[in-house]
Amino acid sequence: MAGETIEAGKNTTPPKGETRCPGAPTTQEIIARDKVPAPAWVRSESYEFMGDQDIPTDRYIDPAYARKEFDTLWKKTWQFACREEHIPEVGDYYVYDIGPYSFIITRVAQNEIRAHYNACLHRGTKLRASGTVGNAEEFRCSFHGWCWNVDGSHKSTTCHWDFPHVDPKKFTLPQARVERLAGFVFINMDQAAPSLAEYLGPEALAHIQAWKLEDRYVYLHVSKRLPANWKLVIEAFMEAYHVIETHPQVAVSNGDANSQYDVYGDHVDRFISTLGVLSPHLYGKHTEQDILNQFTLGDSGALGSVQRTLSGGATAREVMAQMFRGMFEKATNTDLSKVSDSELLDCFSYTVFPNTFLFPGISLPMVYRFRPDRFDHRKCLYEVLFLRPVPLDGQRPAPAEPIELRDDQSFTEAAGMDQGFGVILDQDTDNLRLQQEGIEASAKRGLTLGNYQEIRVRHFERTVDQYLGQKS
Protein backbone atom coordinates (compact mmCIF):
# COMPACT_ATOMS: atom_id res chain seq x y z
CA MET A 1 0.00 0.00 0.00
CA ALA A 2 1.12 3.49 -0.77
CA GLY A 3 1.07 4.65 2.81
CA GLU A 4 3.26 1.84 4.14
CA THR A 5 6.73 3.17 3.97
CA ILE A 6 9.35 1.21 5.88
CA GLU A 7 11.22 -1.07 3.50
CA ALA A 8 14.46 -1.47 5.48
CA GLY A 9 16.02 -4.89 5.83
CA LYS A 10 15.25 -6.18 2.36
CA ASN A 11 18.13 -7.89 0.61
CA THR A 12 17.03 -7.39 -3.01
CA THR A 13 16.85 -3.65 -3.44
CA PRO A 14 15.82 -2.53 -6.93
CA PRO A 15 17.96 0.13 -8.61
CA LYS A 16 17.26 3.62 -7.27
CA GLY A 17 14.33 5.34 -8.90
CA GLU A 18 12.75 2.18 -10.27
CA THR A 19 10.31 1.48 -7.45
CA ARG A 20 6.68 2.49 -8.04
CA CYS A 21 3.65 2.57 -5.76
CA PRO A 22 3.13 -1.06 -4.69
CA GLY A 23 -0.27 -2.67 -5.19
CA ALA A 24 -1.62 0.04 -7.48
CA PRO A 25 -2.01 0.19 -11.27
CA THR A 26 0.33 2.55 -13.05
CA THR A 27 -0.96 5.67 -14.71
CA GLN A 28 -0.42 4.01 -18.09
CA GLU A 29 -2.45 0.96 -17.01
CA ILE A 30 -5.34 3.18 -15.88
CA ILE A 31 -5.33 5.13 -19.13
CA ALA A 32 -5.04 1.99 -21.28
CA ARG A 33 -8.45 0.85 -19.96
CA ASP A 34 -10.23 4.04 -21.14
CA LYS A 35 -12.85 3.84 -23.91
CA VAL A 36 -11.61 6.74 -26.04
CA PRO A 37 -7.88 6.02 -26.32
CA ALA A 38 -5.23 8.56 -25.42
CA PRO A 39 -2.79 10.04 -27.96
CA ALA A 40 0.88 9.12 -28.12
CA TRP A 41 2.04 12.08 -26.03
CA VAL A 42 -0.02 10.73 -23.13
CA ARG A 43 1.01 7.11 -23.58
CA SER A 44 4.73 7.45 -23.08
CA GLU A 45 7.16 7.62 -20.18
CA SER A 46 10.43 9.48 -19.76
CA TYR A 47 11.71 9.12 -16.21
CA GLU A 48 15.36 9.41 -15.33
CA PHE A 49 17.05 8.89 -11.94
CA MET A 50 19.14 11.97 -11.09
CA GLY A 51 20.71 11.12 -7.75
CA ASP A 52 19.40 11.32 -4.20
CA GLN A 53 21.52 14.01 -2.55
CA ASP A 54 19.82 16.72 -0.51
CA ILE A 55 19.01 20.05 -2.20
CA PRO A 56 20.87 22.81 -0.30
CA THR A 57 18.40 25.34 1.10
CA ASP A 58 20.41 28.55 0.86
CA ARG A 59 18.81 29.07 -2.55
CA TYR A 60 15.45 29.68 -0.88
CA ILE A 61 16.51 31.99 1.92
CA ASP A 62 19.58 33.95 0.80
CA PRO A 63 18.85 37.36 -0.78
CA ALA A 64 22.22 37.25 -2.55
CA TYR A 65 21.13 34.06 -4.28
CA ALA A 66 18.00 35.79 -5.53
CA ARG A 67 20.07 38.69 -6.88
CA LYS A 68 22.32 36.22 -8.69
CA GLU A 69 19.26 34.59 -10.24
CA PHE A 70 18.27 37.94 -11.73
CA ASP A 71 21.75 38.35 -13.20
CA THR A 72 21.96 34.84 -14.64
CA LEU A 73 18.91 32.60 -14.80
CA TRP A 74 16.28 35.21 -15.64
CA LYS A 75 18.45 36.86 -18.29
CA LYS A 76 19.06 33.62 -20.16
CA THR A 77 15.82 31.69 -20.17
CA TRP A 78 12.71 31.68 -22.34
CA GLN A 79 9.76 33.12 -20.46
CA PHE A 80 6.06 33.27 -21.22
CA ALA A 81 5.38 37.00 -21.46
CA CYS A 82 1.77 37.12 -22.67
CA ARG A 83 -0.74 35.37 -24.89
CA GLU A 84 -1.09 36.51 -28.48
CA GLU A 85 -4.73 37.31 -27.73
CA HIS A 86 -3.55 39.99 -25.29
CA ILE A 87 -2.20 41.99 -28.25
CA PRO A 88 -4.44 41.18 -31.22
CA GLU A 89 -4.05 44.44 -33.19
CA VAL A 90 -0.99 46.21 -34.60
CA GLY A 91 0.20 48.66 -31.97
CA ASP A 92 -1.25 46.64 -29.08
CA TYR A 93 1.22 46.15 -26.28
CA TYR A 94 1.52 44.26 -22.98
CA VAL A 95 4.14 45.20 -20.41
CA TYR A 96 5.94 42.14 -19.01
CA ASP A 97 8.21 42.52 -15.99
CA ILE A 98 10.61 40.06 -14.45
CA GLY A 99 12.47 41.41 -11.43
CA PRO A 100 13.99 44.76 -12.41
CA TYR A 101 13.60 44.06 -16.12
CA SER A 102 10.62 45.30 -18.10
CA PHE A 103 9.55 44.80 -21.71
CA ILE A 104 6.87 46.27 -23.92
CA ILE A 105 5.63 43.25 -25.85
CA THR A 106 4.30 44.89 -29.00
CA ARG A 107 2.56 43.65 -32.12
CA VAL A 108 4.45 45.69 -34.70
CA ALA A 109 2.85 44.05 -37.75
CA GLN A 110 0.03 41.57 -38.20
CA ASN A 111 2.46 38.67 -37.91
CA GLU A 112 5.35 40.20 -36.00
CA ILE A 113 5.79 40.77 -32.27
CA ARG A 114 8.75 42.53 -30.66
CA ALA A 115 9.85 42.89 -27.03
CA HIS A 116 11.24 46.39 -26.49
CA TYR A 117 13.26 47.11 -23.37
CA ASN A 118 10.89 49.40 -21.49
CA ALA A 119 13.10 52.44 -20.95
CA CYS A 120 13.56 55.74 -22.76
CA LEU A 121 17.03 56.04 -24.32
CA HIS A 122 17.24 59.65 -23.16
CA ARG A 123 17.15 59.57 -19.34
CA GLY A 124 15.71 56.15 -18.76
CA THR A 125 12.04 56.70 -17.92
CA LYS A 126 9.82 53.69 -18.49
CA LEU A 127 7.88 54.28 -21.69
CA ARG A 128 4.88 52.42 -20.32
CA ALA A 129 3.99 51.67 -16.70
CA SER A 130 4.52 48.12 -15.49
CA GLY A 131 1.53 45.82 -15.50
CA THR A 132 -0.30 47.70 -18.24
CA VAL A 133 -1.72 46.97 -21.67
CA GLY A 134 -2.91 49.31 -24.39
CA ASN A 135 -2.44 50.39 -27.96
CA ALA A 136 0.12 52.86 -29.23
CA GLU A 137 0.69 54.61 -32.54
CA GLU A 138 4.05 55.61 -31.11
CA PHE A 139 5.85 55.23 -27.78
CA ARG A 140 6.25 58.75 -26.42
CA CYS A 141 8.18 59.27 -23.22
CA SER A 142 6.09 61.10 -20.63
CA PHE A 143 9.14 63.04 -19.36
CA HIS A 144 10.57 64.99 -22.36
CA GLY A 145 8.59 63.50 -25.22
CA TRP A 146 11.25 61.51 -27.03
CA CYS A 147 9.39 59.23 -29.37
CA TRP A 148 9.71 55.79 -30.95
CA ASN A 149 7.68 54.06 -33.63
CA VAL A 150 5.93 50.88 -32.51
CA ASP A 151 8.60 48.82 -34.30
CA GLY A 152 11.19 50.40 -31.98
CA SER A 153 12.84 52.71 -34.50
CA HIS A 154 13.54 56.21 -33.23
CA LYS A 155 10.93 58.68 -34.39
CA SER A 156 11.80 62.04 -32.89
CA THR A 157 13.99 63.84 -30.38
CA THR A 158 12.50 66.88 -28.68
CA CYS A 159 14.80 69.84 -29.48
CA HIS A 160 16.91 67.76 -31.77
CA TRP A 161 19.24 70.78 -32.25
CA ASP A 162 20.58 70.15 -28.74
CA PHE A 163 21.48 66.52 -29.46
CA PRO A 164 23.82 66.55 -32.48
CA HIS A 165 25.46 63.50 -30.89
CA VAL A 166 22.24 61.47 -31.15
CA ASP A 167 22.10 59.48 -34.36
CA PRO A 168 18.49 58.33 -34.73
CA LYS A 169 19.67 55.18 -36.50
CA LYS A 170 21.55 54.18 -33.37
CA PHE A 171 18.66 54.97 -31.06
CA THR A 172 16.39 52.06 -31.88
CA LEU A 173 14.90 50.56 -28.71
CA PRO A 174 16.90 47.47 -27.70
CA GLN A 175 14.92 44.26 -27.97
CA ALA A 176 14.76 40.88 -26.33
CA ARG A 177 14.23 37.89 -28.57
CA VAL A 178 10.66 36.81 -29.23
CA GLU A 179 9.25 33.45 -30.27
CA ARG A 180 5.66 32.33 -30.47
CA LEU A 181 4.29 28.90 -29.72
CA ALA A 182 0.73 27.68 -29.25
CA GLY A 183 -0.67 31.15 -28.68
CA PHE A 184 2.03 32.03 -26.14
CA VAL A 185 4.57 34.80 -26.67
CA PHE A 186 7.95 33.85 -25.20
CA ILE A 187 10.87 36.22 -24.73
CA ASN A 188 14.55 35.75 -23.92
CA MET A 189 17.06 38.48 -23.08
CA ASP A 190 19.99 36.33 -24.15
CA GLN A 191 20.81 36.95 -27.81
CA ALA A 192 23.00 33.81 -27.77
CA ALA A 193 20.37 31.52 -26.25
CA PRO A 194 19.19 28.47 -28.19
CA SER A 195 15.95 28.79 -30.15
CA LEU A 196 12.77 28.03 -28.23
CA ALA A 197 12.47 24.75 -30.16
CA GLU A 198 15.99 23.69 -29.14
CA TYR A 199 15.35 24.86 -25.59
CA LEU A 200 12.24 22.68 -25.30
CA GLY A 201 13.68 19.72 -27.19
CA PRO A 202 11.89 17.77 -29.93
CA GLU A 203 9.73 15.54 -27.74
CA ALA A 204 8.34 18.23 -25.45
CA LEU A 205 7.86 20.53 -28.43
CA ALA A 206 5.82 17.84 -30.19
CA HIS A 207 3.64 17.47 -27.09
CA ILE A 208 2.96 21.19 -26.90
CA GLN A 209 2.21 21.43 -30.61
CA ALA A 210 -0.25 18.52 -30.35
CA TRP A 211 -2.41 20.35 -27.79
CA LYS A 212 -3.37 23.25 -30.09
CA LEU A 213 -3.49 25.68 -27.18
CA GLU A 214 -3.53 28.47 -29.77
CA ASP A 215 -7.19 27.51 -30.21
CA ARG A 216 -8.03 28.38 -26.63
CA TYR A 217 -8.65 31.68 -24.92
CA VAL A 218 -8.18 32.99 -21.39
CA TYR A 219 -11.55 32.97 -19.67
CA LEU A 220 -10.31 33.54 -16.10
CA HIS A 221 -7.06 35.11 -14.86
CA VAL A 222 -6.29 35.39 -11.15
CA SER A 223 -3.09 36.56 -9.47
CA LYS A 224 -1.91 36.61 -5.90
CA ARG A 225 1.37 37.09 -4.06
CA LEU A 226 2.33 33.91 -2.20
CA PRO A 227 4.43 33.84 0.99
CA ALA A 228 7.49 31.88 -0.15
CA ASN A 229 10.48 31.95 -2.46
CA TRP A 230 9.42 31.45 -6.08
CA LYS A 231 11.22 28.11 -6.34
CA LEU A 232 9.45 26.69 -3.29
CA VAL A 233 6.14 27.81 -4.76
CA ILE A 234 6.88 26.16 -8.09
CA GLU A 235 7.97 22.96 -6.39
CA ALA A 236 4.72 22.80 -4.43
CA PHE A 237 2.93 22.26 -7.73
CA MET A 238 5.32 19.66 -9.13
CA GLU A 239 4.12 16.54 -7.41
CA ALA A 240 0.96 14.76 -6.34
CA TYR A 241 2.79 13.30 -3.35
CA HIS A 242 1.35 16.03 -1.09
CA VAL A 243 -2.28 15.43 -2.07
CA ILE A 244 -3.14 12.90 0.64
CA GLU A 245 -1.97 15.19 3.46
CA THR A 246 -2.63 18.67 2.03
CA HIS A 247 -5.73 18.06 -0.07
CA PRO A 248 -7.43 15.00 1.49
CA GLN A 249 -10.73 16.04 -0.11
CA VAL A 250 -9.16 15.48 -3.54
CA ALA A 251 -7.47 12.15 -2.81
CA VAL A 252 -10.76 10.26 -2.98
CA SER A 253 -10.82 10.93 -6.72
CA ASN A 254 -7.12 11.15 -7.58
CA GLY A 255 -4.51 8.52 -8.36
CA ASP A 256 -1.95 10.48 -6.38
CA ALA A 257 0.66 7.95 -5.23
CA ASN A 258 0.56 6.24 -8.63
CA SER A 259 0.92 9.41 -10.69
CA GLN A 260 3.49 9.39 -13.49
CA TYR A 261 6.54 11.68 -13.63
CA ASP A 262 8.64 12.46 -16.70
CA VAL A 263 11.57 14.68 -17.65
CA TYR A 264 12.51 15.96 -21.11
CA GLY A 265 15.95 17.50 -21.52
CA ASP A 266 16.85 20.34 -19.16
CA HIS A 267 13.80 22.56 -19.45
CA VAL A 268 10.59 20.51 -19.48
CA ASP A 269 9.12 17.99 -17.10
CA ARG A 270 5.62 16.78 -16.33
CA PHE A 271 3.33 14.63 -14.30
CA ILE A 272 0.18 12.84 -15.27
CA SER A 273 -2.14 12.47 -12.30
CA THR A 274 -5.22 10.43 -13.06
CA LEU A 275 -8.60 11.60 -11.82
CA GLY A 276 -11.76 9.61 -11.34
CA VAL A 277 -9.83 6.86 -9.57
CA LEU A 278 -9.23 6.26 -5.89
CA SER A 279 -5.96 7.20 -4.23
CA PRO A 280 -3.90 4.08 -3.41
CA HIS A 281 -3.71 5.50 0.12
CA LEU A 282 -7.47 4.92 0.41
CA TYR A 283 -7.97 1.52 -1.20
CA GLY A 284 -10.80 -0.34 0.50
CA LYS A 285 -12.16 2.78 2.17
CA HIS A 286 -14.36 4.27 -0.56
CA THR A 287 -16.84 3.25 -3.24
CA GLU A 288 -16.95 4.23 -6.90
CA GLN A 289 -19.89 6.49 -6.00
CA ASP A 290 -17.65 8.31 -3.48
CA ILE A 291 -15.12 8.88 -6.26
CA LEU A 292 -17.77 10.36 -8.50
CA ASN A 293 -19.02 12.62 -5.73
CA GLN A 294 -15.59 14.02 -4.89
CA PHE A 295 -14.32 14.95 -8.35
CA THR A 296 -12.86 18.47 -8.43
CA LEU A 297 -12.84 20.56 -11.58
CA GLY A 298 -10.80 23.58 -12.52
CA ASP A 299 -13.57 24.62 -14.91
CA SER A 300 -16.77 23.60 -13.18
CA GLY A 301 -18.39 26.79 -14.47
CA ALA A 302 -18.56 25.13 -17.89
CA LEU A 303 -20.66 22.32 -16.48
CA GLY A 304 -23.30 23.87 -14.31
CA SER A 305 -24.88 21.42 -11.91
CA VAL A 306 -23.79 17.84 -12.49
CA GLN A 307 -25.89 14.74 -11.91
CA ARG A 308 -23.44 12.42 -10.23
CA THR A 309 -25.09 9.00 -10.33
CA LEU A 310 -23.51 5.62 -11.05
CA SER A 311 -25.43 2.69 -12.53
CA GLY A 312 -24.93 -0.65 -14.23
CA GLY A 313 -21.55 -1.44 -12.72
CA ALA A 314 -19.82 1.39 -14.52
CA THR A 315 -16.75 2.97 -12.93
CA ALA A 316 -16.70 6.59 -11.83
CA ARG A 317 -13.98 7.29 -14.40
CA GLU A 318 -16.07 5.89 -17.27
CA VAL A 319 -19.14 7.84 -16.24
CA MET A 320 -17.27 11.07 -15.79
CA ALA A 321 -15.54 10.84 -19.16
CA GLN A 322 -18.84 10.26 -20.92
CA MET A 323 -20.66 12.94 -18.99
CA PHE A 324 -17.95 15.58 -19.25
CA ARG A 325 -17.48 15.12 -22.97
CA GLY A 326 -21.10 15.98 -23.64
CA MET A 327 -21.34 18.76 -21.10
CA PHE A 328 -18.12 20.51 -22.05
CA GLU A 329 -19.08 20.33 -25.72
CA LYS A 330 -22.40 21.98 -24.99
CA ALA A 331 -21.10 24.56 -22.56
CA THR A 332 -18.16 25.69 -24.67
CA ASN A 333 -19.65 25.04 -28.13
CA THR A 334 -16.74 22.83 -29.17
CA ASP A 335 -16.26 19.38 -30.69
CA LEU A 336 -14.59 17.02 -28.20
CA SER A 337 -15.58 13.73 -29.85
CA LYS A 338 -11.97 12.83 -30.64
CA VAL A 339 -10.58 13.96 -27.31
CA SER A 340 -9.56 11.00 -25.16
CA ASP A 341 -11.00 10.20 -21.75
CA SER A 342 -7.61 10.91 -20.26
CA GLU A 343 -7.36 14.38 -21.79
CA LEU A 344 -10.87 15.16 -20.56
CA LEU A 345 -10.31 13.99 -17.00
CA ASP A 346 -6.68 13.84 -15.97
CA CYS A 347 -4.30 16.44 -14.63
CA PHE A 348 -1.38 16.99 -17.01
CA SER A 349 1.13 19.33 -15.48
CA TYR A 350 4.06 20.44 -17.64
CA THR A 351 6.77 22.84 -16.51
CA VAL A 352 8.57 24.97 -19.06
CA PHE A 353 11.63 26.15 -17.18
CA PRO A 354 11.90 28.43 -15.36
CA ASN A 355 8.41 29.56 -14.42
CA THR A 356 5.54 28.40 -16.62
CA PHE A 357 3.21 25.46 -16.09
CA LEU A 358 0.96 24.26 -18.89
CA PHE A 359 -2.03 22.00 -18.22
CA PRO A 360 -3.39 20.81 -21.56
CA GLY A 361 -6.34 18.87 -20.12
CA ILE A 362 -9.98 19.90 -20.42
CA SER A 363 -11.26 19.60 -16.85
CA LEU A 364 -8.12 21.23 -15.39
CA PRO A 365 -7.19 23.66 -18.18
CA MET A 366 -4.73 26.00 -16.51
CA VAL A 367 -1.57 27.93 -17.16
CA TYR A 368 0.51 28.94 -14.15
CA ARG A 369 3.16 31.62 -14.09
CA PHE A 370 5.47 32.26 -11.13
CA ARG A 371 7.68 35.31 -10.74
CA PRO A 372 9.87 36.33 -7.83
CA ASP A 373 8.94 39.53 -6.03
CA ARG A 374 11.81 41.78 -7.03
CA PHE A 375 11.95 43.41 -3.60
CA ASP A 376 11.44 40.31 -1.43
CA HIS A 377 12.98 36.94 -2.20
CA ARG A 378 10.50 35.38 0.27
CA LYS A 379 7.50 36.30 -1.90
CA CYS A 380 6.32 35.06 -5.28
CA LEU A 381 3.76 36.48 -7.69
CA TYR A 382 1.57 33.59 -8.77
CA GLU A 383 -0.88 33.75 -11.67
CA VAL A 384 -3.37 31.17 -12.84
CA LEU A 385 -4.99 31.49 -16.25
CA PHE A 386 -7.83 29.14 -17.17
CA LEU A 387 -8.14 28.39 -20.87
CA ARG A 388 -11.24 27.31 -22.75
CA PRO A 389 -11.53 26.17 -26.36
CA VAL A 390 -12.45 28.97 -28.76
CA PRO A 391 -16.14 28.39 -29.68
CA LEU A 392 -16.97 26.58 -32.91
CA ASP A 393 -18.41 29.77 -34.42
CA GLY A 394 -14.86 31.14 -34.47
CA GLN A 395 -15.59 34.22 -32.34
CA ARG A 396 -12.62 34.48 -30.01
CA PRO A 397 -13.74 36.12 -26.74
CA ALA A 398 -11.46 38.82 -25.34
CA PRO A 399 -9.04 37.46 -22.72
CA ALA A 400 -10.24 37.89 -19.15
CA GLU A 401 -9.03 40.87 -17.17
CA PRO A 402 -6.68 39.79 -14.36
CA ILE A 403 -8.23 39.64 -10.90
CA GLU A 404 -5.55 40.71 -8.43
CA LEU A 405 -6.13 39.24 -4.98
CA ARG A 406 -4.60 40.81 -1.90
CA ASP A 407 -2.15 38.70 0.12
CA ASP A 408 -4.77 38.07 2.81
CA GLN A 409 -7.58 37.04 0.47
CA SER A 410 -8.73 33.51 -0.23
CA PHE A 411 -8.56 32.24 -3.80
CA THR A 412 -12.24 31.42 -3.37
CA GLU A 413 -12.96 35.17 -3.36
CA ALA A 414 -11.96 35.59 -7.01
CA ALA A 415 -15.14 35.92 -9.08
CA GLY A 416 -15.43 32.92 -11.39
CA MET A 417 -12.99 30.72 -9.48
CA ASP A 418 -14.27 27.21 -8.83
CA GLN A 419 -14.73 27.01 -5.06
CA GLY A 420 -13.16 23.56 -4.75
CA PHE A 421 -10.16 24.68 -6.76
CA GLY A 422 -9.82 27.85 -4.71
CA VAL A 423 -9.73 25.78 -1.51
CA ILE A 424 -6.92 23.65 -2.98
CA LEU A 425 -4.86 26.77 -3.74
CA ASP A 426 -5.49 28.13 -0.23
CA GLN A 427 -4.26 24.85 1.25
CA ASP A 428 -1.08 25.09 -0.83
CA THR A 429 -0.58 28.72 0.25
CA ASP A 430 -0.79 27.83 3.93
CA ASN A 431 1.87 25.15 3.52
CA LEU A 432 4.19 27.51 1.67
CA ARG A 433 4.23 30.07 4.46
CA LEU A 434 5.15 27.35 6.94
CA GLN A 435 7.73 25.84 4.61
CA GLN A 436 9.55 29.14 3.99
CA GLU A 437 9.69 29.85 7.71
CA GLY A 438 10.61 26.25 8.52
CA ILE A 439 13.53 26.18 6.13
CA GLU A 440 14.81 29.38 7.72
CA ALA A 441 14.43 27.84 11.18
CA SER A 442 15.78 24.40 10.41
CA ALA A 443 18.98 22.86 11.74
CA LYS A 444 19.04 20.74 8.56
CA ARG A 445 20.29 22.72 5.56
CA GLY A 446 18.99 20.48 2.81
CA LEU A 447 15.74 19.15 1.35
CA THR A 448 15.45 15.38 1.06
CA LEU A 449 13.52 14.22 -2.01
CA GLY A 450 11.75 11.06 -3.12
CA ASN A 451 13.42 9.40 -6.08
CA TYR A 452 10.32 9.13 -8.22
CA GLN A 453 7.48 11.33 -7.00
CA GLU A 454 9.75 14.34 -6.48
CA ILE A 455 11.92 13.94 -9.58
CA ARG A 456 10.53 17.15 -11.06
CA VAL A 457 11.81 19.10 -8.06
CA ARG A 458 15.28 17.63 -8.53
CA HIS A 459 15.15 18.16 -12.28
CA PHE A 460 14.11 21.79 -11.79
CA GLU A 461 16.85 22.49 -9.24
CA ARG A 462 19.46 20.80 -11.40
CA THR A 463 18.66 23.25 -14.18
CA VAL A 464 18.65 26.15 -11.70
CA ASP A 465 22.18 25.07 -10.75
CA GLN A 466 23.24 25.04 -14.38
CA TYR A 467 22.12 28.65 -14.90
CA LEU A 468 23.65 29.77 -11.62
CA GLY A 469 26.94 28.16 -12.59
CA GLN A 470 26.89 25.73 -9.72
CA LYS A 471 27.78 22.08 -9.75
CA SER A 472 24.78 19.84 -9.20
Partner: protein, 108 residues
Amino acid sequence: MADSFHRVLSAAEVPPGTKKAVQVGDRCILICNSNQRLYAISNICTHAEKPLERGRMSATWIACPTHGARFDLATGKALNPPAVKPIATYEVRVVDEWIEVLIKEVAT
Protein backbone atom coordinates in the same frame (compact mmCIF):
# COMPACT_ATOMS: atom_id res chain seq x y z
CA MET B 1 -29.55 76.11 -15.08
CA ALA B 2 -30.91 72.70 -14.13
CA ASP B 3 -29.18 69.37 -14.77
CA SER B 4 -30.34 68.05 -18.11
CA PHE B 5 -29.85 65.23 -20.59
CA HIS B 6 -28.34 66.25 -23.89
CA ARG B 7 -28.98 64.27 -27.07
CA VAL B 8 -25.53 63.64 -28.62
CA LEU B 9 -25.60 60.80 -31.17
CA SER B 10 -27.93 58.23 -32.66
CA ALA B 11 -27.34 54.83 -31.07
CA ALA B 12 -26.42 53.38 -34.45
CA GLU B 13 -23.41 55.68 -34.63
CA VAL B 14 -21.65 53.81 -31.79
CA PRO B 15 -21.83 50.08 -32.54
CA PRO B 16 -20.51 47.52 -30.01
CA GLY B 17 -16.76 47.77 -29.45
CA THR B 18 -16.49 51.34 -30.77
CA LYS B 19 -16.34 54.85 -29.35
CA LYS B 20 -17.03 58.35 -30.63
CA ALA B 21 -16.17 61.79 -29.31
CA VAL B 22 -18.78 64.54 -29.07
CA GLN B 23 -18.72 68.14 -27.91
CA VAL B 24 -21.35 69.29 -25.39
CA GLY B 25 -20.82 72.94 -24.60
CA ASP B 26 -17.24 73.18 -23.45
CA ARG B 27 -17.01 69.49 -22.60
CA CYS B 28 -15.42 66.92 -24.90
CA ILE B 29 -17.16 63.64 -24.11
CA LEU B 30 -16.35 60.16 -25.34
CA ILE B 31 -19.25 57.77 -25.86
CA CYS B 32 -18.03 54.17 -25.49
CA ASN B 33 -19.95 51.02 -26.37
CA SER B 34 -18.19 48.25 -24.49
CA ASN B 35 -19.26 44.91 -23.09
CA GLN B 36 -22.93 45.50 -24.05
CA ARG B 37 -23.07 48.79 -22.23
CA LEU B 38 -22.77 52.49 -23.08
CA TYR B 39 -20.42 54.73 -21.15
CA ALA B 40 -19.91 58.49 -21.35
CA ILE B 41 -16.53 59.71 -20.10
CA SER B 42 -14.36 62.76 -20.48
CA ASN B 43 -12.30 62.44 -23.64
CA ILE B 44 -9.33 64.20 -22.04
CA CYS B 45 -6.65 62.27 -20.15
CA THR B 46 -5.98 63.84 -16.74
CA HIS B 47 -2.25 63.21 -17.09
CA ALA B 48 -1.22 65.34 -20.07
CA GLU B 49 -4.61 66.44 -21.38
CA LYS B 50 -4.38 64.35 -24.54
CA PRO B 51 -7.51 62.90 -26.16
CA LEU B 52 -8.46 59.33 -25.28
CA GLU B 53 -10.58 58.65 -28.35
CA ARG B 54 -7.90 56.70 -30.26
CA GLY B 55 -7.01 54.60 -27.21
CA ARG B 56 -7.53 50.89 -26.75
CA MET B 57 -10.77 49.99 -24.98
CA SER B 58 -11.47 46.77 -23.09
CA ALA B 59 -14.60 45.60 -21.35
CA THR B 60 -13.77 47.78 -18.35
CA TRP B 61 -11.12 50.40 -19.22
CA ILE B 62 -9.72 52.73 -21.85
CA ALA B 63 -5.99 53.34 -22.29
CA CYS B 64 -4.60 56.72 -23.28
CA PRO B 65 -2.72 56.20 -26.55
CA THR B 66 -0.14 58.89 -25.76
CA HIS B 67 1.47 57.71 -22.50
CA GLY B 68 -0.56 54.66 -21.54
CA ALA B 69 -2.62 55.78 -18.52
CA ARG B 70 -5.79 53.70 -18.15
CA PHE B 71 -9.15 54.72 -16.75
CA ASP B 72 -12.10 52.69 -15.52
CA LEU B 73 -15.00 53.21 -17.93
CA ALA B 74 -17.64 53.04 -15.20
CA THR B 75 -16.03 55.14 -12.47
CA GLY B 76 -13.36 57.17 -14.29
CA LYS B 77 -10.74 56.05 -11.78
CA ALA B 78 -7.11 56.22 -12.94
CA LEU B 79 -5.84 52.63 -12.96
CA ASN B 80 -2.13 53.16 -13.57
CA PRO B 81 0.60 55.77 -13.99
CA PRO B 82 1.26 58.24 -15.34
CA ALA B 83 -2.28 59.40 -14.46
CA VAL B 84 -3.41 59.84 -10.87
CA LYS B 85 -6.60 61.88 -11.08
CA PRO B 86 -9.84 60.35 -12.38
CA ILE B 87 -11.61 61.46 -15.53
CA ALA B 88 -15.19 62.71 -15.38
CA THR B 89 -17.97 60.23 -16.12
CA TYR B 90 -21.51 61.06 -17.17
CA GLU B 91 -24.81 59.30 -16.81
CA VAL B 92 -25.92 58.05 -20.20
CA ARG B 93 -29.22 56.69 -21.56
CA VAL B 94 -30.86 55.81 -24.86
CA VAL B 95 -34.19 57.44 -25.69
CA ASP B 96 -35.89 56.81 -29.04
CA GLU B 97 -32.64 55.42 -30.49
CA TRP B 98 -30.74 58.52 -29.37
CA ILE B 99 -27.88 58.53 -26.91
CA GLU B 100 -28.37 61.15 -24.23
CA VAL B 101 -25.82 62.34 -21.68
CA LEU B 102 -26.62 63.99 -18.37
CA ILE B 103 -24.77 67.27 -17.87
CA LYS B 104 -24.83 68.57 -14.33
CA GLU B 105 -24.60 72.30 -14.13
CA VAL B 106 -22.18 73.57 -11.53
CA ALA B 107 -23.52 76.36 -9.34
CA THR B 108 -21.54 79.57 -9.72
